[in-house]
Symmetry: C2
Subunit: 336 residues, 2 copies
DNA sequence: CTGAAAGCGCTAACAG
DNA sequence: CTGTTAGCGCTTTCAG
């Protein structure tokens, strides 16, 4: 069928061992053998079997990635960064887009295990017992990127959501806002939903600003959700002067809702986002957003996973907290 | 080390063959054996090795995907569709984001080959001799999605770029425009660059509208390129009344450039895009765009590849041309 | 420096 | 219905 190492050996007039040696760039091969083997490989168009090699070496150079939504700019950017760095370290990526489907995630975690991936990166916004239990019993390192790990024994690369939301809220307060709305993700999730909301709330408390329950609404981090929630907000008799959306997609949804109702942003109402996805810089007005270091997050996730894979013993499994940064654009008005 | 089929067999008190049989859901296993094997699997937390299985069966259930840019909404949406359908057919996806880097693409094509993927889907905008030669000599089916294949013997799933651009242009002409600008991708590429431009040009010719060379500009399909080209356009003494951007990203770039200069779209200048990415519906004004059936493209790509894999003989390798559709939004004014 | 041979974990005849 | 055994294509002792 396909040409194998034996064929190359025969053609080069050497043993399979020698071929294997040049394949793996070992020393202790004579110039002569090296040349003949390379020639034979060339002539036969030999392509070594990664599968056979993996089986023998018990090493696949593969890592699995769980993405919650490939079409989201935020996640596809992290994935892009993960891919770039994986490639640098010689890992191949097998990716699963769960699209909200937790049973698909679980299924793929088992597939990853059967494929003997060397590590797994999970980015999901929700989880369930089966998944947590898989993670706890897993034999390969698993790392959570941009989301909290289900329990402190697992490593996670993320920002301090609480502090970031707190800082964003203080920025709004400093700009003179007191009628502040919060459009959040689902509080029940393991995600940042709770932390971001708490950061928002505590900033208001610190500055002794009363929380108007009408201004607090929860959706699902996606654009249509921001749009729908904003619609409710705008229907209120007394509107907020600014809305803090807990994701950029929600912020854009809110922006579009306002724009479509003929309002001007930020003159009629201000909007601030969260994530720092490129979309904030694409829409008009460009949206002020609490930026996560997306590229860095992918990079550090991969580097950390690599360390976990190669030196499992020496690695502490503590979270890595990256720096957030408020990027001021054109969607927030000062109303001092 | 890890538990293997032999351990399960021993534990269940049967032969490895029997275990293998229940693993593969074959008939001819007694209730009794089935139960005991499943119990042993459970107790030992046995996870069958996909690698060993692949080696033996000479089948990996894996396909490789080359994506030009993961952060692009257009490609990540196709990828998402490919992933969803791959999962349906039981394929695992290994993905490479080439990010304009053709030598990375070539490297990964060889990796895909070593991994014995069963098929490859390529979405790239450029190519070179090495890649073409790889494709021509490849032993596994290779399919081009959303882009033209380098030569007619390879299958490609795409729209009729020429006709789509022609239709979009006629729409503009019907709306009364004669001062029409074209912002294109690179004509030299194997991409749709040439076809789209030709469609545009021929529509003008058919309607006897002179082509103003100042209005024809080429960039790279990305947002900043559209922005820069638009800037040149707006600096012209006599501006076009509409600009046809050959990609949605370019259209958004053009839109932002116009907006940032204080112009109103479509009142001061109209814009039409190409691709039908979700971004066209997110910006304001929403952009009229010639839409590719993105989801369907991913689905049909995967189905076709699957057919190529399972029934290589019976499959014709002709291109599959999908229907384009103009989606009218708010960025084009009638000027009759 | 080079080669023979023993597996890596699994499936698939083949024989019972 | 069940078990024995020979590989799948490669790497790696272990001897030369």
């Amino acid at each position: 069928m396909t040409v194998k190492i034996k064929d190359v050996a025969k053609r080069a007039g050497v043993s399979v061992t020698s071929v294997s040696r040049v394949l793996n760039g070992e020393k202790y091969v004579s110039e002569d053998v090296l040349a003949r083997v390379n020639e034979a490989i060339e002539e036969l168009k030999y392509s070594p079997s990664h599968i056979a090699r993996s089986l023998k070496k018990q090493k696949t150079n593969t890592i699995g990635v769980i993405v919650p939504d490939l079409t989201s700019n935020f996640y596809s950017t992290i994935l892009s960064s993960i891919e770039e760095n994986a490639s640098k370290y010689g890992y191949n990526l097998i990716v699963c887009n769960i699209a909200e489907n937790l049973s698909k995630e679980l299924k793929y975690l088992y597939i990853f295990q059967e494929m003997r991936v060397e590590g797994i990166i999970i980015m999901h916004e929700k989880t369930n017992d089966d998944i947590v239990s898989f993670v706890q019993n897993a034999t390969m390192p698993i790392l959570f990127s941009s989301v909290k790990s289900p329990d402190p024994t697992f490593m996670s690369v993320l920002i301090d959501d609480y502090q970031a939301a707190f800082d964003a809220t203080e920025y709004l307060i400093d700009a003179g806002h007191t009628a502040i709305s919060y459009l959040g993700g689902d509080l029940q999730d393991i995600t940042s939903g709770q932390s971001r909301y708490n950061g928002f709330r505590d900033a208001l408390i610190k500055h002794e600003i009363a929380i108007n329950p009408d201004y607090i609404k929860f959706g699902d981090y996606k654009l249509p959700s921001g749009q729908a929630l904003m619609k409710e907000l705008l229907a209120l008799p007394n509107r907020p002067t600014v809305v803090f959306a807990a994701s950029d997609d929600m912020a854009v949804g809110a922006l579009n809702c306002a724009l479509d109702q003929g309002l001007y942003v930020p003159d009629d109402i201000s909007i601030i986002g969260f994530d720092g996805s490129t979309i904030t810089n694409i829409v008009r007005p460009a949206i002020t957003s609490m930026q996560q270091p997306i590229y860095e997050m992918g990079q550090i996730s991969l580097e950390s996973l690599h360390r976990l894979i190669t030196r499992p013993k020496t690695q502490q499994k503590t979270d890595i907290v990256l720096q957030h940064e408020l990027v001021v654009r054109d969607s927030c008005k000062k109303i001092n």
